[in-house]
C-alpha cells in the first residue's frame, strides 16, 4: 500500500506542530520517523493513522484520500509506546478484540477467531500465554501482545509509536531483529517512530529525519549517515565533534588551531561549523602535518571501539573512537601528549546552524528562514 502524505499541516492553537509535510511511503518498506522529542514525528504518525486530524492537507492510501475517514475503514495496525493493552482481558481476548468488534456480517465465527488468535500468538512466540493477563507478562511480552493484537485485523499498514522505548537494551535488540523479520515475512508496509538514531539506522529501509515540525532529510540509513543534509542531521545522527570556526584563505580557523581545506571554498571569511565524527580522527604519538596537539583525558576500552577523550590547547574536549589495535600500538595513557588530525569533516555555514538549545526546542517556527534552502555543505577538508 503506497501512502502519500500531501501538504499536511497541524496546528495546536498558535503552535505549529507540522509545517506542510510531504512524504511518500512505499509499498513494503520499513520507514523510520526519527527526531528529538517535539519534532512532530509522533504527531505525524498519529495523523497518518487517523488518531488525529490534520489542520490541512491530504493523506492518500493507494490513491484514496483518507482524511475524515473513520479508523475502522483505515485498517491500520497501531502499536502504542506503552502497549495500551486491555488490562481486564486475557492475552487471547486482547488479540481477539479486533475480530470480535467487526460488524456482524464480517465477523468470523468463534472457531475461526480461536484459530486465528492462536496462529498470531504462535507468530509472536506467546503460544502458551493466551490465558494470562497483561499484568502477568514482562514488558517485551506485552509489546508482542500489542503487536499480535494490531496484526489481527489484517492491517494494510503497521504503525509503531516508539515501540521499544520502554524496554531494556537486550530485549530491545531482540525485538528489533524479530520485528524486521516479521515485516519481511508478512510483506507489510510499516512506519515506526523513534528518537533513537541507532534503532532507526539499524532497522529501517529509509529514515525520515524530523526537526521542529519539518522534514530535514529522507534517505537510506547509509546515505543519511554518510551525507547528512543539514547541521541538525549531522548532530543528531551519532556522536560528533563540533568546531566553530572561521573560513579564511582555504583554512578553517578555530581557537586552538587551523585545518587546511580543499580549494573549492565557497564562502571566504564566513563563520562556519566543522563537524568531525569521532571515528574520523587520526591520532599520532608524535607531531604530524596539520595535526593539533592534545592531551589524553580519558580512555574507555570496553567494547569493539575504544573511546578516547582528549583536550585540545584551549581545553576543548574532543571525542575520538579508535580501533583497539590502534590504541594498543599508540600505547595511550591518561595524560599522554598526542597529535590529532581530522580525516574527514563536513562544514556548514554558521547562519543556518541552530544553536544546540534551539535544535531541541518545541518552537520550530522560523528556525530557518521561510522557504529555507537546505543548508548546503560547502567543502570537505
Amino acid at each position: 500500500m503506497n501512502i502519500e502524505i500531501k501538504d499536511i499541516q497541524k496546528r495546536f492553537g498558535d503552535f505549529v506542530a507540522l509545517h506542510r509535510i510531504n512524504l511518500a511511503i512505499r509499498q513494503g518498506e520499513l520507514l523510520a520517523l526519527l527526531g528529538p522529542s517535539g519534532s512532530g514525528k509522533t504527531t505525524l504518525l498519529r495523523i497518518i493513522a487517523g488518531l488525529e486530524q490534520p489542520t490541512s492537507g491530504a493523506i492518500l492510501f493507494g490513491g484514496d484520500d483518507l482524511v475524515g475517514q473513520s479508523l475502522r475503514e483505515r485498517k491500520i495496525g497501531f502499536v502504542f509506546q506503552h502497549y495500551a493493552l486491555f488490562r481486564h482481558m486475557t492475552v487471547f481476548e486482547n488479540v481477539a478484540f479486533g475480530l470480535r468488534v467487526k460488524r456482524r456480517r464480517e465477523r468470523p465465527g468463534e472457531a475461526e477467531i480461536g484459530k486465528r488468535v492462536r496462529r498470531l500468538l504462535d507468530l509472536v512466540q506467546l503460544g502458551p500465554f493466551g490465558g494470562r493477563y497483561p499484568s502477568q507478562l514482562s514488558g517485551g511480552q506485552r509489546q508482542r501482545v500489542a503487536l499480535a493484537r494490531a496484526l489481527a485485523i489484517g492491517p494494510r499498514v503497521l504503525m509503531l509509536d516508539e515501540p521499544f522505548g520502554a524496554l531494556d537494551a537486550k530485549v530491545r535488540k531482540e525485538l528489533r531483529r524479530w520485528l524486521r523479520g516479521l515485516h519481511d515475512e508478512m510483506g507489510l508496509t510499516s512506519v515506526f517512530v523513534t528518537h533513537d538514531q541507532e534503532e532507526a539506522l539499524e532497522l529501517a529501509d529509509r529514515v525520515v529525519i524530523m526537526n521542529g515540525g519539518r522534514i530535514e532529510q529522507i534517505g537510506s540509513p547509509e546515505s543519511v549517515y554518510e551525507q547528512p543534509a543539514s547541521a541538525f542531521a549531522y548532530e543528531f545522527l551519532g556522536n560528533v565533534n563540533r568546531f566553530e570556526c572561521t573560513i579564511s584563505n582555504g583554512e578553517a580557523v578555530f581557537p586552538g588551531g587551523t585545518i587546511s581545506v580543499s580549494e573549492d571554498v565557497v564562502h571566504n571569511g564566513g563563520e562556519a561549523i566543522a563537524y568531525v565524527r569521532p571515528h574520523d580522527i587520526e591520532v599520532f604519538s608524535g607531531p604530524a602535518i596539520a595535526a593539533l596537539p592534545a592531551t589524553v583525558r580519558y580512555i574507555s576500552a570496553a567494547g569493539p571501539l575504544a573511546k578516547v577523550e582528549v583536550a585540545a590547547a584551549d581545553d576543548r574536549l574532543i571525542e575520538i573512537e579508535l580501533a583497539r589495535p590502534v590504541l594498543r600500538a599508540l600505547a595511550l595513557k591518561v595524560g599522554s601528549l598526542v597529535h590529532i588530525r581530522a580525516r574527514k569533516a563536513r562544514v556548514f555555514r554558521r547562519d543556518t546552524e541552530p544553536s544546540p538549545g534551539e535544535a531541541l526546542s518545541m518552537r520550530g517556527e522560523g528556525r530557518y528562514p521561510e522557504q529555507a534552502t537546505p543548508p548546503a555543505p560547502m567543502w570537505h577538508i
Partner: protein
C-alpha cells in the same frame, strides 16, 4: 497468642506491623464491634422465637422491604447517572465546571433534615415539581417514590467521587487502541471502559447503598411515614425506642444489620472476583 501466627523474620522494610495491627484491632473493637455486640445481645432477652416474632410482624417486614428496596432502586439510579456525571466532569471542559464539581459534594455537607425539608417542599402537590407531577397523577411526596428521591439525592456523591478518579486515570491510549482495532464508540465503552471502572463503580454502589439503608433525616420528612406503606426501618426503630421497646428496636436493628452485611459481603466478593481475573 497472636504472635504465633506472625513469622519472626528479619526486620522488615515496613516496620511496625505488630503495634499497627494491635491498634487497628483495638480501635475497631471499641468503635465498631462493641456497639454491634451490644446491639446483638439486647434482643437476646426476647429469645430466638421472640426475635423472629418481632421481625416477622407485617409492619416490620414492610419497613425492611421499603428500606432495602428503595435503597437498591436509588443506588441503581445513582450508579447510572452518577457515572454520567463523573464522565462529564472528567472528559469535558465547559464554563462552570468547577461549580458543578462542587455541587456534587453538597449532599454530603447539607444536614440531612434540611435536604428532607427542601425535597418535601419541591415535591409536595403544591411545590415547584409536585405541581407539574400532581396533575399527571404522579405523587412523589409522602409515598415510597419520595423515599427513593431522597435516597438518590444523598447517594449521588458516593458514586461520582469513587468513579471520578478512576476515570481520570484511565489511559486515553487504551481507547485509541480500541478505535484503531475497529471498535465503534459504543463497543469501546461497553467492552473497554466499563470493565475498567467496574470495581470503582461497585465500591460507589456499596457505599451509596449502605448510606441509603441507614438514612433517616432526609427520608422521614418526604416519606409521610405511613405504617406498611412509606415507613422506613430506621424510623420504626426510633418509634419502638420511644415506646420503651428496646429489645424490639434492637431486633429490627439486628435484622437490618444482617441484611446489610450480606449485601456488602456479596458486593465485596464480586469486586474480588473481578480483580482476581
Amino acid at each position: 497468642m497472636f504472635a504465633r501466627f506472625l513469622p519472626r523474620r528479619a526486620p522488615s522494610v515496613l516496620p511496625g506491623f505488630g503495634p499497627a495491627l494491635g491498634f487497628a484491632l483495638a480501635y475497631l473493637s471499641i468503635i465498631v464491634l462493641m456497639p454491634l455486640a451490644a446491639l446483638v445481645l439486647r434482643p437476646a432477652e426476647l429469645g430466638f422465637s421472640g426475635f423472629i416474632a418481632v421481625v416477622t410482624q407485617p409492619r416490620v417486614l414492610a419497613a425492611l422491604r421499603l428500606s432495602f428496596g428503595a435503597s437498591l432502586i436509588a443506588t441503581s439510579v445513582n450508579a447510572v447517572f452518577g457515572l454520567i456525571v463523573a464522565w462529564v466532569l472528567v472528559r469535558y471542559n465547559f464554563p462552570g465546571k468547577r461549580i458543578v464539581d462542587a455541587l456534587v459534594d453538597l449532599p454530603f455537607a447539607l444536614p440531612t433534615a434540611v435536604a428532607g425539608v427542601a425535597l418535601t417542599a419541591l415535591y409536595a402537590p403544591n411545590g415547584w415539581i409536585g405541581r407539574i407531577l400532581h396533575p399527571l397523577g404522579i405523587e412523589v411526596a409522602f409515598t415510597p417514590i419520595g423515599v427513593v428521591v431522597a435516597l438518590v439525592f444523598i447517594g449521588l456523591p458516593f458514586v461520582v467521587r469513587t468513579v471520578q478518579p478512576v476515570l481520570q486515570d484511565l489511559d486515553r491510549e487504551v481507547e485509541e487502541a480500541a478505535a484503531s482495532l475497529g471498535a465503534s464508540r459504543w463497543q469501546t465503552i461497553v467492552r473497554v471502559i466499563l470493565p475498567a471502572i467496574l470495581p470503582a463503580l461497585l465500591t460507589g454502589f456499596a457505599l451509596a447503598l449502605a448510606r441509603g439503608v441507614g438514612e433517616y433525616g432526609s427520608v422521614i420528612f418526604i416519606a409521610g411515614n405511613m405504617p406498611l406503606v412509606s415507613e422506613i426501618a430506621p424510623l420504626l426503630i426510633v418509634i419502638k425506642l420511644e415506646q420503651y421497646d428496646y429489645a424490639g428496636a434492637a431486633a429490627v436493628g439486628v435484622a437490618m444489620l444482617s441484611i446489610s452485611f450480606v449485601m456488602l459481603l456479596v458486593l465485596n466478593l464480586l469486586q474480588r472476583w473481578h480483580r482476581g481475573r
